[in-house]
């Protein structure tokens, strides 16, 4: 199994600002995944983060809006840049150790 500490758990941000979300894993993992869950919707993969290389983004998500860092095998950050109310969502990080485990999620509200 894997234990993931994600923070912040929630935040309320002004439009036009940026928020960085952090995920710390209790073991070394090759890939970390970032998901977005818009209100009332399912989870959608934003990007896959490998240590030592650029993140791979899914269709509809771009690096300028969602820059990701992966400085080592236990840590990753996702930044939501130049936020608008449409970015209000739950953001979750995940790792796969045989099965997928998720952080607690970050509930973001943009006003």
């Amino acid at each position: 199994s894997a234990v993931i500490s994600q923070k912040p758990s929630r935040d309320i941000c002004q439009r036009g600002t940026s928020l960085t979300i952090q995920c710390q894993v209790d073991s070394q993992v090759t890939m970390m995944f970032w998901y977005r869950q818009q209100p009332g919707q399912s989870l959608t993969l934003i990007a896959t983060a490998n240590q030592g290389s650029e993140a791979t983004y899914e269709s509809g998500f771009v690096i300028d809006k969602f820059p990701i860092s992966r400085p080592n095998l236990t840590f990753s950050t996702l930044t939501v840049s130049n936020m608008s109310p449409e970015d209000s969502s739950i953001y979750l990080c995940s790792v796969e150790v045989a099965e997928a485990f998720f952080g607690q999620g970050t509930r973001l509200t943009v006003v």
């Binding site: 919707q41 399912s42 993969l45 896959t48 739950i90 796969e96 099965e99 998720f102």
Partner: protein
């Protein structure tokens, strides 16, 4: 990519009732998981079940990989079972073997 459909979208039960949630997927999978999302948004792992049957207390799950579906059974439901249940899979012949694709979820409400 792989498609995942869950049914029913909404389910309302009286406490003590049993229920069955279904997940259909469009391609072969190497991972299938069931999650419960609590009201705070946290995803709780219920089952890792790409094939076969597992049970954990009042919950059990069965995946028939050859027929591309999985079922989650909840017996003697409790109000604390309320929330959204997600099925998620990875695999398929054209998509990534690692990333999960989520179904749209089943919103379960258990009434006291």
């Amino acid at each position: 990519g792989i498609q995942v459909e869950q049914s029913p979208p909404d389910l309302i039960l009286q406490e003590g009732a049993n229920s069955t949630l279904r997940c259909n997927f469009s391609d072969s999978v190497n991972n299938l998981q069931w999650f419960h999302q609590n009201p705070w948004g946290q995803l709780i792992n219920l089952f890792y079940i790409p094939s076969g049957t597992k049970q954990n207390g009042r919950l059990s799950a069965t995946t028939v990989a050859t027929e591309r579906y999985s079922l989650l059974y909840i017996s003697s439901s409790q109000t604390t079972d309320s929330g959204v249940y997600f099925c998620a899979v990875s695999g398929g012949s054209s998509g990534s073997a690692r990333q999960l694709t989520f179904g749209s979820g089943t919103q379960l409400t258990v009434l006291p």
